[in-house]
Symmetry: D2
Subunit: 261 residues, 4 copies
C-alpha cells in the first residue's frame, strides 16, 4: 500500500509534540461566543441552573470515559479537566489530548441538551475552544484550581449584583457605574441593603462552581447467612459544589491528587 510520492508531506511537516512527563495535565474548555449563545437560548441571568447542570453532566461523562482524568472543575461555560501526573494517555501527545477532550465534551453537550432543556430547541451549534497547560507539582496544580474558584467567586458576586440592579430598573450602564471600584464587602452590603439578599445564601453551585471526581462509596451488595450486609467499595463519579481553595477537601480526598511514586 505504498503512496510514496506524496507521503513526504506527512514525514517532513507533521510532528507530534508530547507534553513533559511528571506534570499534571490540565485541559481547559471554554464556550465560544457563549454570550450570544446564552441569549439565543434565553439562559437565565446571572446563572442558568439547567445550563450549569448540563455542563456538569458533560464533565461527568468525561470522567466516566477517560480513566486518567482525576478531577474536573467547572464554572459558567468553562470546565477544567485534570489528568493524573504520570498519565500515558495517547503518549501525552498534546494535539490528541486537546482535540479529543474538546470533541467528546461537545458531543455530549449536544446529545444531552434535550435532557436539560426539553422544551428548547438547539438553534445553533454550541462549540468550545480549549487549551492544555502542564503543572509540575502538587502546589501548582492546587493553586490552578484555587485560581479558577477565586475567579468564580469574583465573577459571580459581581454578576449577582449587576443583574439585581438591572432587574430592579437600572440600565446596564448605570449598574456598571454603581459597581465600579467596589470591593467584595461593598457588594455584599449592596445585596443586603437594597435587595435583602445574603450572598452566602445563594446556591453553592453559583458561588463555588462544580467539582467532579470519583468518590469511593461502600455499597451493600448482598447479605451473608446471618443477615449481615456484605459491602463492596465502588468508585462513583460525583459532583460537589464545595470549597477547593482550603486544604479540607483535599485532605478528605487524598487519593484524587495522590502523587505517584
Amino acid at each position: 500500500m505504498a503512496n510514496s510520492k506524496y507521503e513526504y508531506v506527512k514525514r517532513e511537516f507533521e510532528s507530534d509534540r508530547s507534553l513533559p512527563a511528571s506534570n499534571w495535565i490540565v485541559v481547559r474548555i471554554d464556550g465560544c461566543h457563549f454570550h450570544r449563545f446564552s441569549e439565543t437560548h434565553d439562559f437565565e441571568k446571572p446563572n442558568d441552573e439547567s445550563a450549569l447542570r448540563l455542563m456538569n453532566a458533560c464533565a461527568t461523562s468525561m470522567l466516566e470515559k477517560f480513566r486518567d482524568m482525576v478531577f474536573a472543575y467547572g464554572v459558567s461555560d468553562e470546565y477544567s479537566f485534570v489528568f493524573r501526573e504520570g498519565t500515558e494517555f495517547y503518549q501525552r501527545r498534546e494535539s490528541k489530548i486537546l482535540s479529543l477532550c474538546v470533541s467528546f465534551f461537545t458531543s455530549v453537550y449536544v446529545m444531552k441538551w434535550k435532557d436539560f432543556f426539553p422544551s428548547k430547541e438547539l438553534k445553533e451549534p454550541p462549540y468550545f475552544d480549549g487549551r492544555v497547560v502542564c503543572y509540575p507539582n502538587l502546589k501548582t496544580i492546587r493553586d490552578y484550581m484555587a485560581w479558577r474558584q477565586v475567579d468564580c467567586h469574583i465573577n459571580n458576586q459581581y454578576n449577582t449584583c449587576f443583574w439585581m440592579l438591572v432587574k430592579s430598573g437600572r440600565t446596564e450602564k448605570e449598574a456598571q457605574q454603581t459597581l465600579k471600584g467596589t470591593f467584595s464587602k461593598d457588594k455584599n452590603e449592596l445585596l443586603l441593603q437594597q435587595f435583602q439578599i445574603n450572598y452566602d445564601d445563594e446556591p453553592a453551585i453559583f458561588r463555588k462552581g462544580s467539582c467532579v471526581y470519583r468518590a469511593k462509596v461502600e455499597t451493600k451488595v448482598k447479605s451473608d447467612d446471618h443477615g449481615n450486609p456484605i459491602t463492596r467499595t465502588q468508585s462513583v463519579t460525583t459532583v460537589a459544589n464545595v470549597d477547593i481553595i482550603g486544604p479540607q477537601f483535599w485532605e478528605k480526598h487524598q487519593d484524587i491528587l495522590h502523587e505517584e511514586k
Copy 2:
C-alpha cells in the same frame, strides 16, 4: 477584580503558541474509534453514503462559518480543512484553531445526525481528534491534498475488494489473504472477473472523496426594464467528488489557493 495570589499559574505556565506566518494551515480531523462507532450504528460496508453525506454537511457548515477556510477534503471519517496562507484567524494560535475546529465540527455532526439517519438513534457520542500542520507554499499544500486523495483511492479500492469477498462468503481472514501483495490492477481485475464490477463505475464520492469550496455562481436577481436578466455573482459553498491530484481542478478554481501578495 484582582485575584493576585493565584494568578501566577496563568502567567507562568500558560503559553500561546502561534503558527508561523505565510504558511497554509491544515486542520485534519479524524473519527475516534469510528470502527466501533460504525458497527454500533450499522454503517454499510465498505462505504455508508449517508455517513459520508453527513461528514460533507459538517464540512459545508465549517466553510460557511469560518471565512478564512478556503478548502476542505474528506474521505471516510476524516476531513482536512485548509486555512488561507495569510489568515489571522485567532492570531494563528494553534490551540484555539485546533480546538474550535474540532468542536464545531463535532457539534454539527451530532445536530445533523437525525437529518441523515432519521430512523437511527445516536447510541454513543461520536468524537474526533485533530492535528494542525503548516505548509509553506503552493507545491506542498497541493501535495498534501494529493496525498490524502491517493490514500482515499488505495483504501477504497482495497475495501471494495475486501467487502465483496466477504459478502460473497469468504471469511475476513480469507479476504485479507486473497488481497495480500496484490497491486492496483490485480484488484481491478479481481472485481471485474469475480464480481463483474468495473471499479471506475463505482460512485465518485467513494473513489474520489469529497471537496468543499466556495464557487462563484452567477445568479439572476431581477430583470431590467427590457426584460434582460440582471445577475449577481454569489459565492456558494459547493461539494464536488473530483480529482484534485492533477492540475485541472486547480486551474479552473484558481481563486481557492490564490497566493496573497
Copy 3:
C-alpha cells in the same frame, strides 16, 4: 552497556524539535554585553574596523565549515547566517543547529582575536547569544536581509552623527537631544554642515554592513600546449559591502538563493 534505572530521564524529558521543512533557516548571533566589551577593549567609536573585520573573518570560517550555509550578513556585533531551504543539516534539529553555530563562531572569534588585535589582549571572554528563525519563501528571506540592512543604515547614520557631536565637545546627553526627532536627511545635513562629512563617502563596511557568500571564480590552473590558459571554476568565499535591499545583487548572484526543486 545498560544503565536502565536512570535512563528514563532522557526518554521522558528530552525532545528534539525539528524545524519545518522547505523553509530557509536563519541563525542570528548577537554579542552579549558588547557595549561593555567594546569599552573594555577600547573599540573605536562609532565603528571599529578591526572588530568588524574580525566578525567577517569568523563568518567566512562559518561558510567554509558548513556547506549548507549559503549566505551571511553582519553588522556591528551581530551576524545572520542563512541555511539553504532544503538543508538536512542535523536533520534540521533546532538546538543542534543553534548551539553549534554560536559555539563555532565564538571559538573562531577568540582564536583569531590576536590576528586583528595583535597588541590588545583579550581581557574577558567574548560571548554571543543566538536565535533561529524560519522563513518559508524567497520573498520573506529577502525581506529579512533587507530588514537587517535598513537597520544597519539607520543605526550607523545615527551613531556617526552622535559620535561626531561628542568628539566635537558635546556631552552624550546634548548629542542625544540634538538628534531627537531628526529624519535621515536632517542627519545628512548636520554631518555636511557641521563636519563637512558627506555620509555617502563613509566606508561601505560601515554603511552597508558585510555580506559573505560563495562566488564562482574562474582561475587559471595551467596552460595547454599552445600556451592558452586552462581555467577551472572555483567557489571562493567572498566578503562584500554592498546593497542587498534592491534586486541587483540577487540577480547577479542567482545561485545563492536558488530555490531547490
Copy 4:
C-alpha cells in the same frame, strides 16, 4: 527610527519560547567531533587529565559568571549545567539560555587552552553543541545527574580496559572483541589479572567525573581586640570528584538543590 516596511519579518516569524516555570533547567554541552579533535591534539587515552581540568576550569567560570547556575557535572567532553528551579534568567527563554551558555563555555575553553596545554597550539576551533532539558522536581533532577554519573562509570571502565589492551599490543578490533558482552565485574577482573590494576584505585576524576558547586567556607577576615579570629562565610566555587548517585553528597550540601518556596 522606523523601518516599518520590513519589520514584519521579526513580528510575524520570530518567537521567544519560554521554558516552563518551576522546573530545574539543565543545559548539557557536548564536544562536536571531539574524537578527531582529541587526536589532532594528542590527548592521552583513555583520559587526558589536562583536557578534563580545562573542562572543569570552564565550568568553574560558568558558575562564577551565572549566579542562577547551582551545579554542574562533567565527564569527558560533556558538561551539564543546572539552573535553579525558579530562575528568571532571561525570562527562561530557551534560545537565549542555550546559546549564551554554549558560547561562554566555548569562549573560556579557547582562552584558557594555553594554561592547560602551554606547549600545544590549538590547531582547529573546538566547538560544542548543546541542548536544554527541564526537570519538574527534585527526584528527576537527582536522577538526571545519577544517569550521567552511571554513564561516566560504564564508559570509563570500558575505555580503561580497551586502552590497556591496545597499549599491551592488541589491535583495536581485538580489544573490542575481548570486551564484547562482558559485565562490570568481568572488566574489573580483567584489569586486575592482566594488568594488576585495581579499578577503584584509578583517579576519581576519571571514575566519578567532576562536580562544580558553590561551597560555603568560613574564612578568618581579621582578629578582634583579644586576638580572637573574626570569620566570614564565603561562597567558593569548588570542584569535587565524588559520588552523586547516593544521598550523602546531597545531604551534606542541601543548599544546592534547596527547593524554593
